[in-house]
Symmetry: C2
Subunit: 333 residues, 2 copies
């Protein structure tokens, strides 16, 4: 009995996993179960791989929107307006608000996000906040997994809202099928935004607060800059949509531009090739993390690193040779 | 003959490595050989591991100084003044000028560095520039290896000069035994510099251009901020040294502060523990890179990734399980 099937033996000695029941409840539309599974995958708690594995067959239906842009561009207001629009079309919506710098700018964001509370009574809207940096495996990986649970939960549209234009945000925007870059006139940071390479990730450009002075100038500036970007034959040409989000102006046009991009992706088979490309990067990143964790565990157990460091300090070896020795074990030369 | 010793068979079919002869020449003080070996390790050319292995026994004598700080702080002038000072004491000096952003700011730096040309006739001074981002294995790793060759070449003092306060610079400063952080009054960026966490890496704080207004205010500001940093019992308390580098003012005091820090490290056995800590981080980083390269080669050869991506797109698996499959091969569950 004990050694016949080590796998099930060790499984039966552990408490039964709550994950299968949670996934079953999620598939029946249970909000609390979905929320719980998101926490499991976001924090890489016990059972997170099981959660991803069991929900995988339920995923792939949602259209994922990324909304990014500098602080103060009115992204949260825009997202609220989009939620209303999609709800009016009878679509269910999931929102993942990601803030890699929440420790610093938490206050202002909180204010913006409180507006989303108005949707908390609507079962067709699911809002989830993610914060804190330095999490295991990176914020982008955690966000990708939360998107998956949201997708398995059956949301028609999933909106990932990120703040800023840093590398984290670009990685997170990379999780979306369609990325909206939100700019506002008169912030004087148009040049900086373009410099950071964010224009290249935009599928739809939104000039929000377009009733302000300088909206046309900003639009022209963006058009000029985009002409400088390398363009593939028959590539998608990102439209520029002007909105005044707090008055719901331009939101229908924005949703139409998003829909057009989705149709473009589908017609060209791009939806699948884009997702394949993103999955490729993600799987390789995860494989690398996995190898590193294994290496660290291995090293902590066998104490080999101490001997290697002794050799290095005594100048009997060099770091490149030492790294090979750690990975392969010592080899005769 | 062919299969008896595969290692030497493949070695004899390749042209003989020039590295052993170069190392022999370097050990006799041949500047051209040292320069050539630096190029080999900097660019990870064929033979770079051999170069590191053969020079390892010659290393460990130099005291390595890191000099960092914002652009315009006068670092190059300060380094020139330090070179003169050390040459006056009969010490040999190596300088490694690192500029991760050279593509952008190349012009200004070039001007600064031309001053160092005045040392080109002095065999006791060896200046080496490093630039360009995105190199294989990272700029910090390449810099660490160039430092090793410089060390093997017998320099008494090696100065690593970096521009700016970004993550690259902090990594590179981490290569030094003693790190000098150079600030100047009236640049209004004191707060920013402190925010970036650079104060924590400083062993000696230099207020250069101290004849300018605001030098005392900056010194007080730094002192106040440093009191907020966590301090271990009997820890080194970084002194603040005022200099006017272009007039060689304060340079003897600065060299004395550096010497005091070196003595502190040596007395406490910290020199070895610090180096051990740095080597630990470096070896683990290299081991991770090595594993990643292996994984990529493996994947390119076996085509396993394509099958995994097919499964992912069909929602038959999830990225976490897929990553495990890539690293371990598929396992029965």
């Amino acid at each position: 009995m004990p050694s016949a099937s080590a796998g099930s033996a060790s499984a039966s000695s552990a408490p039964p996993s709550p994950v299968p029941a949670l996934v079953e409840r999620l598939s029946r539309g249970d909000r609390a179960a979905a929320s719980r599974l998101m926490t499991v995958v976001e924090n890489r708690q016990v059972g997170y791989r099981e959660a991803l594995r069991l929900t995988a067959p339920l995923t792939g239906r949602a259209h994922v929107l990324g909304v990014t842009g500098p602080p103060g561009a009115g992204k949260s207001t825009l997202v609220s307006a989009l939620i209303k629009h999609y709800r009016g079309e009878g679509k269910t919506v999931g929102v993942i608000a990601v803030d890699p710098t929440s420790a610093i700018s938490g206050g202002a964001l909180l204010g913006d996000r409180i507006r989303m509370l108005s949707f908390y009574q609507d079962p067709g809207v699911f809002v989830r906040s993610m914060a804190s940096r330095g999490r295991l495996g990176g914020l982008a990986a955690a966000t990708a997994d939360v998107v998956r649970i949201m997708d398995a939960f059956g949301r028609d549209v999933i909106i990932i809202e990120t703040v800023g234009v840093g590398q984290d945000e670009i990685s997170i925007a990379g999780l979306a099928d369609t990325t909206l870059l939100v700019e506002v006139p008169g912030m004087g940071d148009d040049v900086q935004a373009l410099k950071a390479g964010v224009l290249e990730i935009a599928d739809v450009l939104v000039i929000n607060k377009a009733d302000r002075e300088g909206a046309d100038r900003l639009a022209n500036h963006i058009k000029t800059t985009m002409r400088l970007l390398p363009q593939a034959e028959e590539a998608w040409s990102p439209p520029i949509v002007k909105t005044v989000a707090h008055e719901a102006q331009g939101i229908a046009e924005l949703a139409a531009a998003v829909e057009k991009h989705r149709a473009y992706l589908q017609e060209r088979g791009r939806l699948q090739t884009d997702r394949r490309e993103r999955l490729r990067a993600e799987v390789l990143e995860r494989a690398r993390d996995l190898m590193l964790r294994r290496l660290m565990q291995d090293i902590e157990q066998n104490g080999k690193l101490d001997g290697v460091l002794d050799d290095l300090l005594a100048h009997r070896t060099d770091p490149a040779t030492a790294a090979h020795a750690l990975v392969d074990g010592p080899r005769p030369e």
